[in-house]
Amino acid sequence: MIAIAFLMLFLASITGYLVNRQAALAIRSGGTRLHSLAGFHGLYSLLLIMVPALLLILLWLVLQPVVIERMVMNGLPAGTLEGLDSGAVQLIQAEIRSIAGGRVFGTPDPWKLEAAERMNSLQGRAGWLLLTVLTGLMAAALVFSRSRVSAEFRARQGVERIVLGLMLSCAVVAIFVTVGIVLSLVFESLRFFSMVPVTEFLFGTRWEPQMPIRADQVAAEGAFGWIPVLLGTLVITVVAITISVPIGLMSAIYLNEFASTRFRAVAKPILEILAGIPTVVYGFFAILTVAPALRAAGAALGIPVAPNTALAAGGVMAIMLIPFISSFADDALAAVPRSLRDGSLALGATRSETVTKVLFPAAIPGIAGGVLLAVSRAIGETMIVVMAAGLMASMTINPLDSVTTITVQIVTLLVGDTEFDSPKTLAAFALGLMLFLVTLAINILALRIVRKYRELYD
């Protein structure tokens, strides 16, 4: 049905284009000078037909399943859903959907079969309704745009206005994404905070979201204080930053000041490879190589190292961050005006003195911005910690211990079943909201510092 809708859309647009162009050409061959080229008259019609129709189809696609589902669920025999929690209702919904899709397992209840049939018939009717509405809309657009064709009609301006509007809406999509993120996080978090007090979440020092299975135990179990999770995140971030910043900085200094052009040309792309490796690969590397190596080293030294020590996750994250910090520091050092470098060298400073005493202090704001962005990356990094860090939240700052992070908890809470109204799943959104706010604050600060720094030397 959707395919037919798109085909109709395509044909109608082409028709509109040809009709209007033909009409415009006819006026011109009649000896009148057109304001706009005939092609623009055609385009005008094409856009006028295509844009609203496309919007209609997309809107329909998004809304149809929701509306139909609701109609089917409301049409169920009275009392079927009584006393069921939302998880069970979702299960029934899924079953009806799969029956409607032709995948029948076992012998479902007759009312489910009935509902599935109803769903199918509704979908069929919705399809026809879409085609009817679409045809009407496109016909109206066609007639209207044809009526506009005249010698004085400014078709080019019309087209350009529509195109400009389209481009503006493309740019506004970016805002919608942010708004969508904020709204969805806030909305789900509010539901969470209606079950768990905000203060408990913000200041609680126990994180035990593993809710018991039976509903009557809710009050007895489950602790949602995010402090230990935050602490774990910070431990891993600190490990990653302490390792990656010196290495990244030193590489940048070497590349900027000492390396020959040829070495630089080879070394920079190789460093960039480290940045291009997907994080799931780093996670695998951490569990396959780094964690066992650390444990063996710990055993050799007689230090107890947890199997999923924060050091492994943090260390591997550091490898990922090296090129990031190095390229930021490289840019910041290169942005220091040549005159300062010359001034220092002309006073008889060595290259190392020039770097450490003049260039580096001058570049600190730029480097600090880069390090902050790296911190925000480390906090938001998911796959490495999901694979290599622990699941249990504990109040420790020992990097040899196992710690958990915000992102690990989000993934563990949400992967698998998603009951949308248990505090367990909603807690993930509250954590997500905190993650978003923290990283956003760091990013804004970092971008501001970096921009100030650029202005300083431009």
């Binding site: 929701v66 350009e160 481009m167 493309c170 740019a171 506004v172 999509v173 970016a174 805002i175 942010t178 969508g180 993120i181 969805s184 996080l185 909305f187 789900e188 290495i247 990244g248 030193m250 590489s251 200094i253 070497y254 000492f258 070394a267 480290l274 490796i277 997907p278 994080t279 799931v280 690969v281 780093y282 695998f284 590397f285 569990i287 190589t289 490898i319 090296i322 090129p323 190095s326 060595t350 190392s352 450490t356 962005l373 990356r377 906090i379 938001g380 990094e381 998911t382 999901v386 694979m387 992102t407 989000i410 993934v411 992967v415 949308f420 997500g432 993650l435 990283t439 990013n443 804004i444």
Partner: protein
């Protein structure tokens, strides 16, 4: 200029640069210069070393999975196990057991059961399919070549330490001896493991392949491209060429920069709450994955496209405006074509990032155990990175090497995409 408190060697103009003190000072400074140089080089080499270890680990592990141990077996299909009237319902497990007992005539029943385990679980279905296709085979022998099961695959690849204590390994001495006997009969071979890319996921490592994941990733990338590319170009053109200097433009600008730095998992939460929760889109569908990745890739493409547009010199615009073209005619007729190579390069790099992205796909359920290739973007499926995640989580030894192999496949795709981007840049980039 009277200076009373200056030290003697500063009283007069100039210094004795040849004095021992001056020489020692220079020597010290030269040393610290060397130290910094060595430390800097050391830092870079350390990073290279890490990269080297990472790649070496992946290649040494992954190359094991590029070959799969197979066994070639003549299987007698006896009529007692398979009813010629309905060959699909036959007891093929027994058929396989019979074939093994023919190879090892002196084995008793318990040993026979163990012997059957040498073959992959797939073997019975291979025989079944052959018999169903040609029922005339009943009563005759079928020659099959099937993978051996994971422990024996590891043994054949030398990954089992046969000298260690028997309790610590998954194969007993007898089992190892049996397998060695098969090897001596020349029934064991190690062909290239095409199943790695032509088979779907499986519980058994020797059968598991990436086809479903590759198709899933391809669908997701296609959707991601179809959405983010036009949106990204539209937004970039608007912001770069048409946007008035006003609040809205500033907000969009700041917004895009911040969006580029939002952790990927937050996009996963957005997708879970909005696409799955509110719109009821199917779980684990590459379509939803592509949609999510598109939102993440959008800022990257917008920023790359704006830089490409910015690089087109104003003289081109002025020239076209000068002959009376409208602003839009200038942009679409002259500026955009010139900026296209740059935009495409940025887009490919953005898509390469999207291809490796895992976390948001986990949240929308693209980590399910799916044993079929998705037929449409709306079917549940995995993607390459999530498949890697699933396999990395699996306890079987065989999955370790397969995870590495899957990573090598993923890295292969990434290398190809980046190579294409570099090629585009070098081939079409203009220096103004």
């Amino acid at each position: 200029m009277t200076q009373t408190d200056l030290p003697a060697d500063l009283q007069s103009r100039g210094h004795d640069w040849a004095s021992p003190r001056a020489r020692a000072n220079v020597a010290r400074r030269r040393r610290s210069e060397t130290v910094l140089r060595v430390v800097g080089l050391g830092a870079i080499l350390l990073a290279f070393l890490m990269l080297g270890i990472l790649l070496w680990t992946l290649i040494s592990q992954g190359s094991l999975a590029f070959r799969q141990t197979h066994i070639t077996l003549n299987v007698p299909v006896a009529a007692e196990h398979v009813d010629p009237a309905d060959p699909a319902k036959g007891n093929y497990r027994r058929v396989i057991a019979a074939a093994m007992s023919e190879t090892f005539p002196e084995a008793d029943t318990t040993e026979q059961r163990a012997l059957s385990k040498i073959l992959s679980n797939q073997a019975q279905f291979v025989v079944r399919d052959k018999v169903v296709a040609d029922p005339g085979l009943i009563g005759n022998e079928v020659r099959i070549r099937v993978p051996v099961s994971d422990p024996y695959d590891q043994l054949a690849k030398g990954q089992v330490d046969t000298t260690s204590a028997a309790e610590t390994r998954r194969l007993s001495d007898v089992e190892i001896a049996n397998f060695r006997a098969l090897e001596e009969q020349g029934l064991i071979s190690k062909p290239l493991n095409w199943a790695l890319v032509t088979a779907n996921d499986s519980r058994f490592p020797e059968l598991a392949g990436l086809k479903g994941a590759i198709v899933g990733s391809a669908y997701a990338l296609l959707i991601c491209f179809l959405i983010s590319f036009p949106l990204g170009i539209g937004a970039a053109i608007y912001l770069e060429e048409f946007a008035p200097r006003n609040r809205l433009s500033d907000v969009i600008e700041v917004n895009i920069n911040n969006l580029a730095a939002v952790p990927s998992i937050v996009f996963g939460l957005l997708a879970l709450a909005v696409f799955l929760g509110w719109f009821g889109m199917p779980r684990g569908a590459p379509f939803v994955g592509g949609l999510t990745l598109a939102l993440m890739t959008l800022p990257t493409i917008i920023i790359a496209a704006r830089n490409a547009l910015k690089a087109v010199p104003p003289s081109i615009r002025e020239a076209a405006l000068g002959v009376g073209a409208s602003k839009q005619q200038v942009v679409f007729g002259h500026v955009l074509p010139l900026a296209m190579p740059g935009i495409l390069t940025g887009t490919i790099i953005g898509l390469a990032q999207a291809l490796g992205e895992t976390a948001p796909l986990l949240l929308i359920g693209m980590n399910a155990f799916v044993t079929s290739t998705p037929a449409t973007p709306f079917d549940a499926s995995t993607a390459l990175p999530t498949q890697i995640f699933i396999w990395a989580d699996s306890p079987e030894r065989g999955f370790t090497s397969r995870t590495s192999a899957a990573i090598l496949v993923l890295l292969g795709f990434l290398v190809m995409m980046n190579a294409l981007a570099i090629f585009l840049r070098n081939r079409f980039e203009r220096r103004w």
